[in-house]
Symmetry: C2
Subunit: 333 residues, 2 copies
DNA sequence: AGTTCCGATCGAACCGGTTCGACGAAGACA
DNA sequence: TGTCTTCGTCGAACCGGTTCGATCGGAACT
C-alpha cells in the first residue's frame, strides 16, 4: 500500500503538508492541494488505520458486544445488530462484533488494547457482569437493556412497565378477567434479564387493580419444548386471553393454534410484544407492543457517537425508556 | 492505559526486553521474566493494537462482509455469522462486520487502510461485484458461495447440483412424476446467486431423465406475498410433491398447509433445503437437505487463518463443495 | 592468565501517520 | 527602504509497539 510518504514525494511536498491537505486543519494553496489530490488518486492512497490510531488515539471503530444465549431466540438479536451496523457507518464508524461467551473478559481485552473508541452492550441484564468492567474502561459506552445501576452510561430500552400496563389495560377494557401470561425462559430471570421481570411484576400489579387473575409461567425457548408447552397450556384452562412475552413462543403460536382449531380472537384473545419485522417474518397476526429494536439500536449508536466525538460530554447521561406503541392487529376481543 | 515503557520501567528493564518476554522470541532469564510478569499484572498492561499493527503489519482482525438483501431471508444469515465469529476467536482473531450496501467500495476501504488481515465474503454471487476488488487487495480471502471464477481464493459452498440430484432421485424413487419447485426470489437469479440456478438447472435436467414434470417458479421473499403465492400454488395443481428451495417460503409453509387442511405427506409430499437450526426455529417437519451453514462458516475461517498465518501458502487454493446430507423427516411418500 | 563463546539485555531504528513550532517569501505599512 | 504580518510549507518529535545488531559479564577452554 502506498504511504503518505509516497504521496508526498509524488506531489513534491512534505508528509505534513499531505496530512494537512487531508485533514483540512491548515490552509493549503489550491495548486498544492490539486497536486496532492492527484497523487492520492494515482496511488490509491488510504491512510493506514493502525498508524492513524496510534497517532490520534482514535480508531473509528465501535465494539458491539452481543451474547447469544441458548435460552433466547436468536433471530430476534439480528434486528438489533443490523441497524446498529448501518447507523455506525453513517457516522463513519466500523463495527467490531464480539460474541465471546465470557463477556467481561472480552470487554477488558478489546478495551485495554484500544481497538475501539466506544462500546455498545446488547441485552444488558439487571446485574450484568459486564458492568463492573464498563466502569473501569476508558471508552464511553451505551447499552440496550436496563441494568440496576445506570450511572455513567447511556441506556436505552423499551419501557416494559408501561408496556405491561398497556397490555393489561387493553385486556381489562375488553372484559378479560382470567389470563395466562407466558414469560421468558426461567434462565432469563435467573440471569436477571430485567425486561422479563419488569414486565411480569408490573402486569401482576396492574391486573390486581382490575381483579384480573393472571396465571404466569416461564416460557420455553426451544422447539420442540415450546410446542409441548403450548399444548399443555391449551389443554388446561388458559382463560380468555394469552399474553406472550417470549419470542420463541409467539413465533410458534400460529401453527399450534391452527392445528388445534383454536380461533383468534373468537376462542382466545392473544396479545404480545414483538417488532414489526419479526411479525412479518413469522407472519404473526397478533396485536402487539412494538418492540422497536431498530430505534433502540440507532439511539444507542447516536448517543455513543456523541460521547466519542466530545469526551467532555461525559456528564449528562441518558436513560431513555421508549414509550411503547401498540399495533392493533385485531387479535383481542 | 499502561504502555510497554511503563512496564519496562517498573521491572527495571528496557522496552525491548519486555517485548521479547511477551513474544518469547528470545530467551529471558527467569528472574527477569518474573519481574516483568509482575509489572504487567500490576499495571494491567495490554499491548496497544494500533501500535502493534503498525509494527508487525498484522491486525488479528478478520473482515466479514455480509450483504443483507431484501429478497433474502435474514434469519438465515445469522447462522453463518455466529459460527464464523466463534471460530475466528478460537484462532485468536476478532471480527469486523461490514454490512455496507456498496460491498466493493467497503472492501476497498477496509483493505486499503489495513484494518484486517483477511476477509470473508458471505453469499457470493456468480459474478459478484466484490470479486474484481478481491483480486487487487493484499489480504487473503475466503468465501461462502460459488462464483464463476474461483482462482486465488478458498471457496466453500454446499454442492447444490448434487443436492438437486438427491432431491429429484428421492422423489422419483417414490413415484412422483409431477412436481412443483419453488426457487429463490427472481432478484436472486438476476443478481446471479449461483445456488439458485445451479439447483434449478440440475433439478430440471435430472427430472427429465425420469420423465418427471417440473413446474418451477420464482418464490416470494416477504410476507404477506409468500402466503399469497403459496395459496395460489395450492389452488392450482401443485402436483404430488413440493420442492422448496427458499427459506421464506418453507418457513411459512406449515401454517398455510394447516389452514387449508393439506396433510403432509398424505396429500402432498414436501422436501426442502435448510439447516437443522433453521428447522428447529421454525419447527419444520420436512425432509430436507442439511445446508450446514455452521460447517461452511468454520471451513471458511479455517482456510483463511491458514493463509494469514503463512502467506506463502497462497498457491493451493481450495474449492470445496460440501457433499449434501439428507435428513429424512418423513414428509415424502 | 588470556582468549573465545554464549546467554541475557540494551539501544536505536522503524512502522505510517499527526501535530507543533519554525521558517522563508510576499505583501502591507511606516 | 526597512520592519511587521500573514500565508504556506517544512522538519522534527511523537504515538507504542517490534526487531536487529551491539554490548557486557561470566563461564569454558587452552
Amino acid at each position: 500500500m502506498a504511504t503518505i510518504q509516497d504521496v508526498a514525494r509524488r506531489a513534491g511536498v512534505s508528509r505534513s503538508t499531505v496530512s494537512y491537505a487531508l485533514s483540512g486543519k491548515r490552509r493549503i494553496s489550491s495548486e498544492t492541494k490539486a497536486r496532492i489530490d492527484d497523487a492520492i488518486r494515482e496511488l490509491a492512497f488510504t491512510p493506514n488505520a493502525g498508524a492513524r490510531a496510534l497517532a490520534t488515539a482514535q480508531t473509528s471503530v465501535i465494539g458491539l458486544f452481543v451474547h447469544f444465549f441458548d435460552d433466547e431466540f436468536s433471530p430476534a438479536m439480528l434486528q438489533y445488530v443490523l441497524p446498529i451496523s448501518d447507523a455506525a457507518r453513517e457516522y463513519g464508524y466500523d463495527v467490531l462484533m464480539i460474541t465471546d461467551t465470557d463477556g467481561p473478559k472480552a470487554l477488558k481485552r478489546v478495551s485495554n488494547s484500544d481497538m475501539v473508541d466506544g462500546v455498545i452492550l446488547l441485552n444488558v441484564a439487571h446485574e450484568d457482569p459486564r458492568l463492573p468492567v464498563m466502569r473501569t474502561i476508558r471508552q464511553p459506552g451505551s447499552m440496550v437493556g436496563l441494568p440496576k445501576s445506570t450511572d455513567g452510561f447511556d441506556v436505552f430500552d423499551l419501557d416494559f412497565e408501561q408496556s405491561a400496563r398497556m397490555v393489561i389495560d387493553h385486556l381489562a377494557e375488553r372484559g378479560h378477567r382470567d389470563v395466562t401470561l407466558v414469560t421468558g425462559h426461567k434462565a432469563v430471570f435467573e440471569r436477571g434479564g430485567a425486561y422479563a421481570w419488569r414486565f411480569l411484576d408490573t402486569a401482576k400489579e396492574r391486573a390486581a387493580r382490575y381483579g384480573m387473575r393472571i396465571h404466569a409461567l416461564y416460557g420455553q425457548a426451544q422447539q420442540p419444548a415450546v410446542n409441548r408447552q403450548l399444548a399443555e397450556i391449551l389443554d388446561g384452562h388458559p382463560g380468555t386471553a394469552l399474553v406472550v412475552h417470549n419470542d420463541a413462543v409467539i413465533a410458534a403460536l400460529p401453527s399450534v393454534l391452527h392445528s388445534r382449531g383454536v380461533r383468534v380472537p373468537d376462542d382466545l384473545s392473544v396479545i404480545s410484544i414483538f417488532s414489526e419485522d419479526f411479525g412479518r417474518i413469522f407472519n404473526l397476526p397478533y396485536t402487539a407492543i412494538e418492540s422497536s429494536p431498530d430505534r433502540l439500536g440507532r439511539l444507542a449508536v447516536r448517543a455513543l457517537v456523541q460521547h466519542m466525538r466530545d469526551p467532555a460530554s461525559a456528564g449528562p447521561h441518558r436513560v431513555e425508556l421508549l414509550a411503547p406503541r401498540m399495533v392493533d392487529r385485531g387479535s383481542t376481543r
